[in-house]
Amino acid sequence: MDFTYTQDQKSFRDAVRAAFMVEATPDVVREGWEHASGVAPALEALIAEQGLTALSVPEVFGGLGLSDTDWALLTQEFGYYAVPDALLTTSYPAACLIRELPDAANRQQAWLPALSEGRLSVAVGHPLSPLVGDADSADLLLLWHEDEVHAVWRADVDITPVASVDPSRRLCRVSWNPSSASRVADAGAGRELWQRLADRMALAIAGEQLGLTQRVLDLAIDYTAQRKQFGKPIGSFQAVKHLLADVAVKGEFAKPVFNRAAYALEHGHPNAGAYVSHARLACGDAAWLAARNGIQVHGAIGYTWECDLQIFMKRIWALESAWGDAAYHKARVADWVLADGAAGPGVTFA
């Protein structure tokens, strides 16, 4: 029974963190808002250079073959730095989906190395996220149709971008016509592939939410420790302390829930879906409270465009219902915890 990450996992996370700390500053995130891709050129270059598009591609195809628990650490960094979506909406799910496609050695050979090297951008569309992230800058789209997986080139779809409250996000309505030519997995195989993909995406969002919670907390701590009113830092007032302590409590207790979900997903645990939903709810609650209490302790300055807090709040608001809204995740959690003998001692872990 060991909840800790390996030294390798932490080192890799630290390397990514170090890169983001320098290259994904709030100014860079803001710069991305002005670009069609949502990502500033320098950050796009960093992603290419660091080979971040190769993370989930199996090693035989030139990738790093990261596991779900590897990713669990990284997604927190994506959230902490509010790195624009593109990587998490394209190469991550695309690689996961393609590598698991049945009877698709040719396609895997054609697509995975290209994906890995950043030569191919692949977007993914599923009913839980009906607007396709970064479809407008993708070459290829992997789309759900009645549980089948279809692969469609961009020329063959109509794309209408729809702005999000978070200017980093690039969501698109996609209309297209499924055909037997575009089908790359049938419904029998697809059902399981899509479910695993949807769980992976939900987990990635939970990780972002954890990172966002921590970032808002850090911003709020910095601000309230230096901002003075009534002759002392406002962070010394009990009301301010308790608003932030409440966020810390929620964040602290979301972490192990998140870690369990990642582990269960990686090991194909039969309850993985419910665990992921539990993580999404716990991490989402923490993030939502972080945004509310974060702006509250900032006061008016937190309401301004100039204050970097907005970057993280808007991401929190935007992700709230992404890849499954509260109704979806609550229902999965309730079905699980209310089933006979499903939760509790000796069942929590197998």
Binding site: S164, F230, I295, Y303, E320, A326, A327
Partner: protein
């Protein structure tokens, strides 16, 4: 106890309703844009010209001498008709009542009629970079030079000051004075030499407020409201109005509540998928009713000769949390749509972002809870 409207009140309601039906414009552009500002100002002028600018004021000052119940009725019909937020609300709801109480006859005649038709657009100028929740920490000075005050310093978080003609606020007129002593309440035209207005963009990217810099700005002594050095008491009266009745009549929340109920009915699938949603929506709607009832109760007490006391702070907390609850319920119904820039979702998300400011401005809810505990419950400081 008599919770019925009188026939006269019902007739008044019918009159407002009829006028609004004829005159309310379609959706205007955001008033934090230049185009939107002009459109809103035109609407305010139309209101003013027809005597609806601020119905509680005497006719001679641009109003129609209504009592507070009629004012509530006016607000209800105003928002029920889909009319826009009041552009000049800091003027008519905050400075207006303060002028009524502390202004000279000359000041009232000079400022109120023009305010009622938005010939003068007003912004508040309380906060400073070092004086937010701690308003008594004001440092902007106004030294006396003959018949003028000469202002130096900086104000901030002045809502819509970018478009305003005038500001009202507190300035330190007694050199070396401390805290709430030695402050005076001044009315300052924004076109005076030495004033620089720097817009501040808010969450939605629009410049909803501004910083104002003063460099040897000369204001006539006549522009002082109340006695010199007694500005704090005048400002507290303004703050009382702000927390109390005027700034947040129930009608706005009732309009939001109606939209929320409609949204709920329009999304039966959301209610089916999340059975707890009905509770959440119903609770927010019921709280909106509670807020309306509470306001009528306050007006009853005022009409019976009472005054607004520290319990007004409970009102500030209640409406700001209500506004959040209404918008959060709507976002929950919208689910995946909530983040999108579609006509329906955009309006709720904008409202949600605006609601974030509720627990912060007009005295943060933490300050209000202190006030409730100390002044209403009598707990030790």
């Amino acid at each position: 106890m008599d919770l019925n409207y009188t026939p006269a009140q019902q007739a008044f309601r019918a009159q407002v309703r009829a006028w609004m039906r004829e005159n309310v414009p379609g959706e205007l552009p955001d008033y934090d844009t230049w185009e939107g500002f002009e459109a809103h100002r035109a609407w305010e002028r139309k209101l003013g010209d027809s005597g609806w600018g601020m119905v509680t004021w005497p006719e001679a000052l641009g109003g129609r001498g209504c009592d507070l119940i009629e004012w509530l009725i006016f607000e209800e019909e105003y928002y029920a008709a889909g009319a826009p937020l009041r552009l000049n609300q800091n003027g008519i709801f905050l400075l207006g009542p303060t002028l009524m109480e502390f202004g000279t006859d000359a000041q009232k005649a000079r400022f109120l009629p023009r305010m009622a038709r938005c010939d003068d657009m007003w912004a508040q100028a309380w906060s400073e970079p070092g004086a937010g929740s701690d308003m008594a920490a004001i440092r902007t000075t106004a030294y006396r030079d003959g018949n003028h005050y000469v202002i130096n310093g900086q104000k901030t978080w002045s809502t819509r000051a970018r478009w305003a003609d005038w500001i009202f606020g507190l300035f330190r007129t007694e050199q070396g004075s401390q805290r709430h002593h030695g402050l005076s309440y001044l009315l300052v035209p924004l076109d005076l030499p030495g004033i620089t207005v720097r817009p501040i963009r808010q969450l939605n990217g629009l410049a909803g407020f501004a910083e104002i810099f003063f460099d040897e700005v000369r204001v006539p002594v006549d522009n002082r409201l109340g006695d010199e050095g007694e500005g704090w008491a005048v400002a507290m009266a303004t703050a009382g109005f702000e927390r109390g009745l005027m700034l947040r009549s129930p009608a706005r929340y009732q309009a939001t509540a109606r939209r929320l109920a409609a949204l709920y009915h329009a999304h039966p699938d959301a209610a089916r998928r999340d059975p707890a949603l009905r509770d959440r929506v119903a609770a927010a709607l019921a709280a909106t009713e509670a807020y309306a009832l509470s306001t009528y109760r306050t007006v009853s007490q005022l009409q019976a000769g009472g005054r607004i006391g520290p319990e007004a702070s409970t009102s500030k907390i209640f409406w700001s949390e209500l506004d959040l609850a209404l918008h959060e319920a709507a976002l929950a119904i919208l689910g995946k749509e909530a983040e999108l820039d579609t006509p329906e979702a955009r309006r709720w998300m904008e409202g949600f972002m605006f609601a974030q400011a509720g627990p912060i401005y007009a005295g943060s809810n933490e300050i209000q809870r202190n006030i409730i505990a100390e002044r209403m419950l009598g707990l030790p400081r």
